[in-house]
Symmetry: C2
Subunit: 396 residues, 2 copies
Amino acid sequence: MEFQVLHRVAGSEARLGLLRTAHGDIRTPAFVAVATRGTVKALSAEDVAALGVEVLIANTYHLALRPGAEAVAALGGLHGFTGWKGPWFTDSGGFQVFSLGAGKVHGVGKIASIFPGEASARPVGESLVELTEQGAKFRSIVDGGWVLFTPEEVIRLERLLGADVILPLDECTSPFHDEVYTRQAMERTHRWGERALRAFEQTQGLGPNSHQALWGIVQGGAYEELRRTSARTIASLGFPGFAIGGSLGKSKEDVRNVLAWSVAELPTHRPRHLLGIGAVEDILMAVQYGMDTFDCAAPTRLARNGALLTFSAEGFKLNIDNAAYRTDPRPIEEDCDCPTCQRYSRAFLRHLLRSGELSYFRLATVHNLRFMVRLMDRVRARLAQGRLPTVQALQG
Amino acid sequence: MEFQVLHRVAGSEARLGLLRTAHGDIRTPAFVAVATRGTVKALSAEDVAALGVEVLIANTYHLALRPGAEAVAALGGLHGFTGWKGPWFTDSGGFQVFSLGAGKVHGVGKIASIFPGEASARPVGESLVELTEQGAKFRSIVDGGWVLFTPEEVIRLERLLGADVILPLDECTSPFHDEVYTRQAMERTHRWGERALRAFEQTQGLGPNSHQALWGIVQGGAYEELRRTSARTIASLGFPGFAIGGSLGKSKEDVRNVLAWSVAELPTHRPRHLLGIGAVEDILMAVQYGMDTFDCAAPTRLARNGALLTFSAEGFKLNIDNAAYRTDPRPIEEDCDCPTCQRYSRAFLRHLLRSGELSYFRLATVHNLRFMVRLMDRVRARLAQGRLPTVQALQG
């Protein structure tokens, strides 16, 4: 794997790059489409390729539970099993440490501000995770039994899955964890990172892909000293690329700070991935702060819920369920080149959504994912001109 | 609209034909894919066209309730609204008279033998239909209010929807209706058919398609005298084509008889549609008895439930959920040319089904619908050779 920075924008950390993998090139900044269980929800691999998507991210935790990493390896790894032959990332299960653990107890997402106006956490359930120095013990969502994920086991699973970029087990903390706990979790993540690196070296040759790269994950919550320490520590371990993990704090300001502190301590010639962020405004901000890739389930989930992404709508979202579209013959967006906009009216898409037709989910997802590709095309075009991609510039 | 019989098979009623509509030709015998609300479930119109499907059938009852026939007309009728530009049929709502009425009370389908071994009916609910000479009053499944469907109103709705072949309101009886009731229902269906013909003439020019044909529906349950009377009566009214409606009785033998009695009384140069039958064995039998077209939701519904159609599996069905396919790298069927079999293994399809991934539904439906197209290709090839399409011959 090789990463080239092709162009930088003065006065910011933004850069244009090229990430080369054994399964294809990724022009950065790039949106990494989420395919948790090996498929982008409602799409086929041909659909994804036709939309111009260059890279997908699957989830080790989910695939290890079903169908099992060995089963995926037997079918040629993710590239053979899923039909998507281009570059793959795999997340480690670290996010599930959070989403099934503190995220449930604290009732929050990766950024606490998704519940604006709430001063504290909103509990939504009991933790399904037990954390020890050894690893994370999960309640399986498939059969309810306990599953132990150690840093070494996660590397073994990711070797079997065979993604091009793999991530070590980490602990994604909650925005409501205090500095003391966040530091303990961060230090454990560092130790897990070292163990993952050793396991990665010791498993050379295992699995279907001999060209994998293991990137390090920076943690530390929204605490400046922790984020800087984490970035320096992880960078010192020699990972060829980095991911910024959550918590990202309680506000957009916090997210900006987390990115600035982390990037300041990371080597400039290595790629940087921002985990789980995909709102348009957030991506534009993250590009400015030097992020190269982003993954997020939001664009595809929004599609399934009726929120279609357009450059012209307020907040980039058109709610297709709105009664105003009942007999609207126009496509979702006039100048969109996606297959859905080439043939279908807002009226028909609204009809399919309201009728609960399965066809809706694919047509809507096709549009939103093509929007993300077009968005990143515009972002890169701006960067190539030496300018930052602002909301205003991209809506033109 | 024009129908040509191209070739007959001696010793049977089987024939090869061509049904020409203003929106394209249909090579018969043909499977008419079900698109109740304007879309084949889980597919797009492009998908359907790519599979070689030549004609779709939508449902007047469902579309009239949502989004409304006027809304569809405003978007150019079914051809404009749905993206499927080829030939359309519309069913009248007559099947809903049955499925929401006697079908619920009697707990049966169109052929009672779908509950083998049961001597009598199995009640599953109260009727949501009130039948009078005027028409059928339905409880709307959308908002719970009462909706009156008269023969005249159904024609008006079908004019607005603009399908190429439209069907009049009829009463589909239950296999557990006695001869006295079945005769009353049949006679009412005949009177409704005459009213529909008058309404069809009086609405010339209404709606987006000036080339519609109204076909008559033969009723009469599994009673010989009734079926023959119904076929003769409906034929005498001058319809340019015919549909055989249910009930088709309580056994395969009953179905064969119903078809034989009906066809014996119908003019040979007019097309004949069999409503709601689509099991492979039933289609082969119906071809032998002179049917030209068939519609049925089974192939697409089976796909969604994990039953994938193949020429080699017993009963033509492979259950993809079977544990034997967990790491099976083969396509559903080795020599299938469908997009799903070109790229995906049984193992991956099983994984998608078990994971509840939306992607599964489309990939499975694509395969089953392509199977139906290939099946009808084989049927027509046999007929062209002057031979009947038997199960044995088609599995070769």
